[in-house]
Amino acid sequence: MSTINIELYYFIMCSVQEGEDVSPARKEKIVEERTCMKCEKKAVLVTRVNDAFCKECFMVYVTHKFRAAIGKSKLIRDGESVLVGVSGGQASSCLLHLIQEGLSGRAHKKLRFKPGLVFIDEGATIGMSAEERLANCTQVLEIMEKTGFPCYLKALEQAMELEREAVTNTADQTVTASMTSVEDLTKLHRYDKAEEELRALMDSLKSVSAKEDLIKSLRQKILMDLALKKGYSKVMLGDCSTRLAVRLLTDIAQGRGAHVAMDTAFADNRCNDITIVRPIRDFSSKEVAMFNILNNVPSVFIPRITTKAADSVSIEHLTERFVTGLQAEYPSTTSNIMRTGEKLHTEKKSSSENQCAICQAPLDTDVPPSSALSAVRFSETMSRCSSVTLSIFSTDTACGGGGDKTCQSEGQKESECCGRGDGSCQSKESKLTRDEVESALCYACRLLIKDLGDVSKLPKHILDDISQRQRRTKMKSEIEDFLLDPSNTPD
């Protein structure tokens, strides 16, 4: 680990320009009384490598950073409906407070969007008792309701039951100010079946990294679904810079390098209709904590899957340990990581068929046969099946190997589909094979389901999406001969 530390440290710290001094600023011990860098009053906090701020100047600095992030992007229009994801934690509570301040009459040039708040109860992922879940939800809802904005309460297991909606014109939908009261919490018990399905799915995933990844994707699905159904055109999340720096490195480690830009940018437009925005992406976790203390912002700590776990329990947990440890010695760590991430760019694919069925990101797996991905798959297939035949290497399923129990491919099942391919087919669905599912997933999501024995444990709407794509592909290949090839048409 220490060798990796040093190498990564140089990668992160070193400036690219020639001739510059490459050693980063190590944190200096402060010996004398520091005064605010702006107004010379007594300082309360040190941030941004070595700048000291007093309380008032810090508030101005923070508010300005928040407003600038939103204003510079020119993405959030006046009167727009924005769904704010509230986890109850410090960062989202800070975001909530900033939104309230920004929208209030006191603000200089006040913000003009219309927020709605949503809290997703994830207690099912750690087997939390119903009482504890109720207690947590009550606490968070109380904080949310004080703001006066419309509030929604969701449970993560609802992601197992989502219905696939056809994309409708969302611009005409208006948001009704429906307040979810504390009494509505009894609805928590309605999702017992979904909760069991979620538990079964989580239990089938062996590694904690895979579980975390799945939780992240399910959370996103719920947010997008709610935004679509209620007419919100933006989803606002409280991801601070420290969290995003960890996310960036974790993504690379998990095979999501292609999506790093999307996961950490201010605006994430993986879903065509709804943009995810991250207005506090420039705030370090220290600034967030200080802001909350100085403004008495309440937050609720809710344990998650990696709480109190050993360092190496998951990739993200380990990365967090690494980044925070490095940040303590070298205060420019997270800003360097974020700046590097900003230079990356994800190409946006046009149709939804080119999106990963689980994480919605553009597929990085539809590459020609000479790609690195094909090479990886080839070696994987070779090492699994004991007897080798060249016919193994195809993009279809059948494994020619002899009797090795580790070979996981299954034979193609004949589907009874009428071949329409537009979703109107009413014939009984045959089970999707693992290869069919994988064809609709990005590289990292394929790794996610690697340990999943039975792919039919995935949420229904994902399986339906994949089935539809399969039918479309089949239909397309059937009518291919009848399609005019543009390059061959006689003029």
């Binding site: 300082a43 410090q90 976790s285 700590f301 998650r304 340990r321």
Partner: protein, 100 residues
């Protein structure tokens, strides 16, 4: 020699290591050496920390990711481990880590 009364607060998940009790009013026993945050940490480790010391401390200091505030000010401005504790100080430990 008098005892030094202080208030300790734990939040952001750090309270999980202290039986979920967020606020502690304690009196530091009289001692010949002055009470600094460094000594205080050892005192906390020996007397208040209920489990998993490695999640709160790393060596002599707090684990990276735990913010320490002395009377609502960053401890980096007060000398960190060398700050001398005064009676009725309020020292807050906030965990900014994901999983507590």
């Amino acid at each position: 020699m008098m005892k030094t009364p202080i208030t300790l607060e734990f939040s952001g998940g750090a309270e999980l290591l202290f039986d979920k009790v967020k606020k502690h009013n304690i009196e530091l026993p009289a001692s010949e050496k002055k009470w600094t945050i460094g000594n205080l940490l050892l005192y906390i480790k020996d007397n208040l920390l209920k489990e998993r010391p490695e999640l709160f401390m790393q060596g002599e200091t707090v684990r990276p990711g735990i913010l320490v505030l002395v009377n609502d000010a960053d401890w980096e401005l007060m000398g960190e481990l060398d700050y001398e504790i005064q009676p009725n100080d309020r020292i807050v430990f906030i965990s900014t880590l994901h999983g507590g």
